[in-house]
Amino acid sequence: MNINRRLFMGTGAAATVALSAPMVRAAGHGKPRVVVVGGGAGGATAARYIAKDSEGAIDVTLIEPTRTYYTCFFSNLYLGGFKEFDDLGHTYGTLASAYGINVVHDWAVGVDRDARTVSLAGGASVPYDKLILSPGIDFVEGSVPGWDISVQNVMPHAFKAGSQTELLKAQVEAMPEGGLFVMIAPPNPYRCPPGPYERVSMIAHTLSKINPSAKILIADPKEKYSKQGLFEAAWQKYYPGMIERLGPDFGGGNVTVDPSAMTVDIDGEVEQAAVVNVIPAMKAGRIAELAGVTDGNWAPINPEDMSSKADPDIYVLGDAAAQGDMPKSGFAANSQAKVCANAVRGALTESRVFPAKYTNTCWSLVSENDGIKVGASYEPAEGKISSIEGFVSQTGEDAAVRQATYEESEGWYAGITADMFG
């Protein structure tokens, strides 16, 4: 254990930065160790709650390659001109300084489940008693013929936020007058079910100001999608004639792209586009697969505590998990992280463990001060996370209700980011 720790610290100095509070660190010997891979909605929350509630009794290491986490949530509002890019960025300083979490900026590249170690790209090996994986998503190769990750700077996905989101916005702003924006929507299941359609709303909002004769075409492999009636009503009200969606009946699922020609072939009809936003099919972040906890594209979990069905010492949170009835959202990942943190703490320190309960709400902005939402409560049942009761905004709600819904989403953004990063 000591050798590993020294190795980890040694390599850490060369390849990574461990922003840890020295006092907590020095006292760390012999304490149970939790390693969290991925500092997003699930991972940052789990690390923070375990460190906060165990009051130093558990040594928490958070492995995350990026120094600034840009939230996907609200990234569409940036595309619509309602947020600045910097509003989306959050750093790990408080998790390190106020909670004593060892924040290691590196990639996890392997998990040795027998030795219970995580190997890092920098060469270090980090031992764990409990491992929490919250790596988000990766894309399924070949799901959109003609597209692969090497052309993401020509046809961006912007489904992992950061430079991809900035690029997509710059492309939209540079569209020629009357140009065509094409979105290739993803098949189920994918992160943020209303996300593509909120994005269309926000891009339409931007275009209606700077390029009102531009058009938006959505090629969609799905019959139906989240909050569809609400989105369609909003598009008709705010952006009439701008947006067209081709579902599977009209070949929306039979798409090939050519990034060098900037064309999209939809069921044999070739469209010349100014911007092509390809949102491919998704699967669990690769480290989940490398750890051997996936079955197909996602990692099955026990709904009582988010532990992997493949290994009781590994927990999988958020988008990477096969999370039953819950949609893949930041809200859901944050909710699961708190159930998991309570269970992990109980397993390692015998603190009290309470029954799992989960909640989700997904807000979408469709135009200025016009917000819609869908949400539900969940609990473990029949071996999965099962929904109990839900709600959704209605078409024809008055403007005051919609504005209150939008303001709530602002409150939630402030709340969840404080809950993740301290």
Partner: protein, 109 residues
């Protein structure tokens, strides 16, 4: 303030109906409340800051319990809060009220 609230909890006001009386008589387990509160802090900031969602820290326990009860029985309507409160029993509401009452709006967290 706190002492007054506890006193009032024992001799709850006469206008409370039976369901409310039972809820107000429940003892709140603040440790359970802290766990349950983690569901609330995705929206309500623990710091007491207000950005489109009202703060709920440092409330009087009776007012807190009755407010949650009204969300639960839908006499106060709000889509998200109605669904959230619907699955809280008296024990859970009491636990939440006990925990949130320990937080001071001026504290940082």
């Amino acid at each position: 303030m706190r002492a007054a609230a506890i006193l009032a909890l024992c001799a709850f006001p006469a206008f409370a109906n039976e369901a409310e009386e039972l809820l107000l008589a429940e003892t709140g387990d603040a440790e359970y409340g802290e766990y349950l509160a983690s569901e609330c802090t995705s929206c309500h900031q623990i710091s007491g800051a207000m950005d489109g969602i009202p703060p709920i820290v440092g409330w009087d326990e009776i007012a807190f319990r009755l407010t949650m009860h009204h969300f639960r029985n839908k006499t106060r309507e709000h889509q998200a809060m109605n669904v959230i409160a619907a699955r809280l029993g008296d024990e859970e509401i009491a636990a939440l009220s006990a925990y949130f009452a320990t937080l001071n709006p001026e504290d940082d967290g």
